[in-house]
Amino acid sequence: MSAALFIEQLLNGLQLGFMLFLMAAGLTLIFGVMGLINLAHGSLYMVGAFACAIVAAATGSFWLGLAASLAAAAAAGAIIEVLVIRRLYARDHLDQVLATFALILIFSEGARWLFGSFPLYLDIPSALGGAVRLPGGATYSAYRLAIIGIGILVAVGLWLLVSKTRLGMRIRAGESDREMVAALGVDIGLLYTLVFALGAALAGLAGAMVGALQSVQVGMGEPVLILAFVVIVIGGIGSIKGALVGALLVGVTDTLGRFLLPRGFELFMGTSDAATVGAAIASMLIYLVMAVVLAVRPQGLFPANR
């Protein structure tokens, strides 16, 4: 195993981690501020991917597609917030799970109806099509590096938004005391719609960026949604810092587990058995990590003050 290969896998892990962070940040923000568990977050990811693929195919520009993914996911988020989600804030988690599960069915079947079951394809933009030479001689996909870069930018942006701006102040206040915010004359309904649309836009962005690495199809959102759940459970639901740490932990653990475990088992058994056992355990690894974290810290690594 060469160092270059290991570095490549590590970067793949970080790329997966930052992509998960985009999903998890929205989920955790929505839970932290509104107390809502949103299963349909994966559908917003899908909306972003479809919007990007369609606009990119029509205009020939990935970047227009990316802008469209943000706009479409934010708009879809705002619409479902106004029509459905805001009726759920005062409900228990069971109702929230059910209603947002219903939204998944509607989004998925709706998308299948409109676009069919065949995947759409989205090309990596030509400017980022090549590889970058890293210090030490390894090369790495420029596009994947760009995803890592965007993930870092979003993390910094969210931190600035929440800790430095007026909107962020309201978000933090809304987290601790809805009535106080309402008493200050903030339109809490509008605030919630904005927060929901922001989370949706981040999910859409993630979907669009991943769409160019994989294919764009119905059902693409749910596996990512479940990983994002694992992320926020590990990080502590409601904490953006927890979402970042959890996302990187999950991304790197999952990628390196799939890479290293089969090689590790080769030390004890034949190559094909090692590949089987290694792959089976690697596929469960992040869930084991989650179980261990929760056994030690039931509120996750960075419990939000709720």
Binding site: F31, I37, V84, R87, H93, L94, D95, V97, L98, A99, F101, A102, L103, I104, L105, I106, S108, E109, G110, R112, W113, E222, I226, F229, V230, I232, V233, I237, T276, A279, A280, A282, S283, M284, Y287, L288, M290, A291, L294, A295, P298, Q299, G300
Partner: protein
């Protein structure tokens, strides 16, 4: 007789009458449909113990449903090819043995999952049970010995002493009897001391602890019992389809089980049966009109959650009463 009991009795009689009529009319397909309703109702009755009585929103009960399914599939495969399971233990095609193995396996799995998951509550509990189920799902997909992603076929439906299970009607009656037993168990459990403590743990765990009953031990027992009943349904489900695949373990399956309970009525005895009946009828009726029937299912479900809390039983029999 209370109104709810009348509604329950009508539902159960209708479930029994439907396949008999189908048999007379020479439409065996409807017997299979009724068997599907019965098995899904049984699975959801299991979940109803944890979710309805105990307020434990398990989003991972597909794990137990699938474990039951795989128990049936794996034992049947070994019985079929004559290879020992492990340590020289042979497979079997006898349903009673398979049921016991399915329930025991699910119970043993539910114990550690329950212990860890019950350290948390609320949203964490929902997500953790989901994550554990995903863990088992991915294991089933990546472990090639029993079909991996492609699943496992049961070439001949498993046997029950003295009954020809290959015919639809006898198999339906086996499933129906098990559902009847499960409903009886559910109702006795609910009215017992254990049930009182479990329902109190849902309504107010602080109060329960303050009178001296530790809520989590009660919840854990309920979680394990619930998993075992759902696993029994899983074993029947793979015998119905003569096929078991990772889709039985999927998160959509967990979601469907919750949906059945919500459609029917949370914590109500016949809620899962009402929900399963409605669900399978939707699937059949809407599925005949459009292949996108799930879109309409989504809309109906959304309407039920937003506007018709209490489900079918709630609409027909009014609010739940607690002695």
């Amino acid at each position: 007789m209370r109104r709810e009991q009348t509604v329950n009795a009508c539902l159960i009689l209708a479930l029994l009458a439907a396949p008999v009529l189908a048999q007379l009319a020479g439409e065996p397909f409807f017997i299979t449909l009724a068997t599907r309703v019965t098995i899904l109702a049984l699975a959801a009755t299991g979940l109803n113990i944890a979710l309805g009585l105990g307020g434990l929103v398990s989003f991972g009960h597909a794990a137990f449903f699938g474990i039951g399914g795989y128990a049936a599939g794996i034992l049947a495969t070994h019985a079929f090819n004559g290879m020992p399971l492990f340590l020289g233990i042979p497979g079997t095609n006898q349903m009673p043995v398979i049921w016991i193995v399915a329930m025991a396996a699910a119970g043993l799995l539910a114990l550690p999952i329950g212990v860890i998951s019950l350290r948390t509550s609320g949203v964490y509990f929902i997500m953790i049970t989901l994550a554990f189920a995903q863990m088992i799902f991915y294991f089933a997909i990546s472990w090639p010995a029993y079909g991996g992603e492609d699943g496992l076929s049961i070439y001949v439906r498993n046997a029950f002493p003295g009954i020809n299970t290959l015919k639809p009607m006898p198999f339906f009656l086996i499933c129906f009897s098990l559902l009847a037993v499960a409903l009886l168990v559910f109702s006795r459990l609910r009215d017992s001391r254990f049930g009182a403590a479990l329902e109190a743990a849902r309504q107010n765990p602080e109060r329960l602890a303050a009178v001296g009953i530790a809520p989590n031990r009660i919840r854990l027992a309920a979680f394990v019992i619930s998993a075992m009943v759902t696993a029994l349904a899983g074993a029947l489900f793979s015998d119905l389809n003569r096929f078991v695949s990772p889709s039985m373990l999927s998160w959509q399956m967990s979601g469907e089980l919750i949906v059945l309970i919500i459609l029917g009525g949370v914590g109500r005895l016949a809620g899962p049966l009402a929900g399963a009946t409605l669900y399978v009828l939707f699937e059949y009726a809407l599925g005949g009109i459009t292949e996108h029937w799930q879109l309409f299912l989504g809309l109906i479900l959304l309407a039920v959650v937003l506007f018709a809390r209490g489900g079918v039983i709630g609409m027909l029999a009014g609010r739940a009463k607690h002695g």
